[in-house]
């Protein structure tokens, strides 16, 4: 019998280094689309204060809550009152009258946050040294503003629709439900687009956030006051009310939901309301583009 040395154990696992430190990158790249997505994601986080200290969350979150409070109240009320007596509840179109202050406050907060800060902090120079060019940068910012405004324009009525449906007080039948859903979607887009466009145009004119916010919060209700005075006291033609950027989207929302109303623009033909809407969008877009086209960027 011979004594043989025991065979060395088979290595069960090879040693690995997991943290290799900085090295060259050989993976795939996302292209310009990835740059726009990253810009939108970063802008949403910035506006909502995500990843920032608590003080950056103090303003946006209460405003979002303000926009949802009437919806929550309506849902609670609808659950408490007897079926068939809910006619006094506001319609989907009328809902926007309850939250108009929250909507334009949110626009006044978000738009300057996303445009003015980039110019003040040198981020615009960093963005333009990336695959983003000025049109794509502005497109990304407009998308971000639109998505943020949809939180307050789409969220509450959609919540109401879903809650009413679950309470058996929603639209009758699937077809009717889809119609209401699409109307809510279109209404939210209209309200978000016009407040967002005006907010961005004003924010494109200054790099001071406070100035931009104050201007937005003055111009939107100011347009209602000035047009009202000009038409009612100044004897100017009622068509001038189309310049009332505060109530124009509300009037359009009533038309989208096929309802009468939409004071004080309720008497204007629908086509004039749409013309005014696209006019505001075109004016704002042109203003933003000319503000940024020749802007000297800090580098």
């Amino acid at each position: 019998m011979t004594d043989q040395p025991p065979a060395p154990p088979e290595p069960q696992e090879r040693a690995r280094i997991y943290d290799q430190g900085f090295r060259r990158y050989h993976g795939s790249r996302t292209g310009v689309g990835g740059a726009v997505r990253s810009l939108v994601k970063h802008s949403l986080r910035q506006a909502l204060g995500i990843g920032r200290s608590a003080r950056y969350k103090l303003v946006p979150l209460p405003i979002i809550f303000m926009a949802f409070v009437p919806a929550i109240g309506l849902i609670a009320l609808a659950a408490l009152i007897p079926v068939g007596t809910e006619d006094f509840l506001p319609t989907y179109a009328e809902y926007y009258a309850l939250v108009v202050a929250a909507l334009y406050l949110f626009a006044g907060l978000v738009c300057p946050e996303l445009l003015c800060d980039d110019r003040r902090t040198g981020m615009l120079g960093v963005y333009l040294a990336s695959p983003l060019d000025r049109p794509r940068y502005l497109l990304g910012k407009a998308l971000s503003v639109m998505l943020l405004l949809l939180v307050v324009t789409l969220g509450p009525p959609l919540l109401t629709l879903i809650a009413f449906t679950l309470q058996n007080e929603g639209p009758d039948g699937f077809g009717q439900w889809i119609t209401v859903f699409l109307r809510i979607l279109a209404s939210s887009a209209v309200v978000g687009a016009i407040y967002g466009a005006v907010g961005l145009a004003i924010s494109a004119s200054t790099d001071r956030r406070v100035v931009a916010t104050a201007t937005i919060l003055s111009v939107i209700p100011g347009s209602a006051i000035v047009t009202d005075i000009l038409v009612n006291d100044g004897g100017m033609p009622p068509v001038l009310r189309l310049a009332n950027v505060m109530f124009l989207p509300r009037a359009l929302v009533h038309r989208i939901h096929a309802e009468s109303g939409g004071w004080p623009l309720g008497d204007n033909p629908t086509w004039t309301l749409w013309l005014a809407f696209f006019g505001w969008l075109a004016l704002s877009t042109t203003w933003i583009w000319f503000s940024y086209r020749d802007l000297v960027v800090q580098r």
């Binding site: 430190g21 050989h26 960093v126 060019d133």
Partner: protein, 331 residues
């Protein structure tokens, strides 16, 4: 639209692609802002390695960087970056270039790691990879422990390093650094220059270093492009720019203007290259830099001074620096 082409399969600037081995090629470049000319007939080539873009403040260095990034349209001339016209292919060019701006203002409430990650994503790195690379880049610039600090709480030196990290996180084909040592104390400056050297040495990164500080360009760069008065004043390796006159003999002579002129004429007649700076003469020595060449120059100077009965106040030898070359071109 995702671009699934791995970096390794992309055309690299290794001398085999359409750019003929150069990263940047500028020919007779002209740039005006309104009626104010900033660049007028600038011609240079930037190849692999570390290239210094040297010029006084306001010489147009940042404008050159802006043109390379495709942010300005040249008013004349031709510019190719990685084989493309940056004005027409700006996004494609910028995706392959890293840029650290000169200004120190960065979003104060944003954490360094988030900022670097965001810039990496902007340059096409997918989010998960961007997170890892942001962390790795910040560790590389020695900010690993500080990476979750808001940038507003960082010192100038730390912010300069954050800017360097965001410029390299997406693994660009070359990096443009605009005054990367601006605002740094001597120790921080040394650390930054060593970081820049290590990026090329350890990772093969090509770097364009824009600076008005001659000594740091001389210490770090393989090649130099000197810009002044809107033109390219000189271009080449530091050795090439020093030319055949790598060393000089300087002499301070006790003479009036007429006798100094006679002495200079005599020295030039003997085949020496002489520059006059007041009562100081700077004599270039041939590139062999041997003691024999120095001795021959000193002997010649002594003999000609004796011929003209002139006294020598001070005599010395000095190695020609990039500063001498720069000042010579400014004259």
């Amino acid at each position: 639209m995702p671009d699934p082409t791995p970096t390794a399969q992309r055309p690299r600037t290794n001398g085999t692609d359409e750019s003929g081995g150069s990263l940047v090629r500028a020919e007779s470049l002209v740039k005006r802002y309104g009626s104010v000319p900033v660049l007028d007939d600038v011609t240079f080539t930037i190849s692999e390695g570390i290239t210094g873009l040297l010029g006084a403040n306001g010489a147009g260095k940042t404008t050159v960087l802006g043109l390379i990034l495709g942010l300005h349209r040249p008013n004349g001339g031709r510019l190719e970056v990685l084989g493309r016209d940056p004005w027409h292919a700006g996004p494609e060019v910028r995706a392959r270039v890293g840029y650290a701006p000169e200004h120190h203002t960065l979003p104060p409430d944003l954490r360094a790691a988030e900022f670097v990650r965001h810039v990496a994503e902007l340059h096409g790195i997918p989010p998960e990879d961007a997170k890892t690379r942001s962390s790795d880049a910040l560790w590389l610039v020695e900010l690993g422990e500080e990476r979750f600090r808001p940038m507003g709480t960082m010192s100038t030196g730390q912010r300069q390093r954050v800017k360097l990290a965001q410029a390299i996180a997406h693994d660009p084909e070359f990096v443009l650094l605009d005054e990367p040592t601006d605002g740094l104390d001597p120790t921080q400056r040394e650390v930054m220059l060593e970081l820049i050297r290590s990026l090329h040495r350890d990772f093969g990164m090509n770097i364009v270093l824009s600076s008005h500080l001659i000594d740091e360009v001389e210490r770090v760069c393989d090649r130099v492009v000197i810009i002044g008065g809107g033109r390219t004043m000189a271009e080449g390796t530091v050795a090439e720019l020093r030319g055949t006159a790598a060393e000089t003999v300087t002499a301070e002579i006790d003479a009036d203007a007429d006798r100094m002129a006679a002495l200079v004429a005599a020295l030039r007649a003997s085949g020496l290259t002489v520059r006059v700076d007041g009562r100081r003469l700077v004599l270039s020595v041939d590139h062999d830099e041997s003691d024999a060449a120095i001795k021959a120059t000193l002997d010649e100077l002594r003999d000609r001074c004796l011929d003209h009965d002139l006294g020598v106040i001070r005599l010395g030898r000095r190695r020609l620096s990039l500063e001498d070359v720069f000042l010579e071109h400014l004259r």
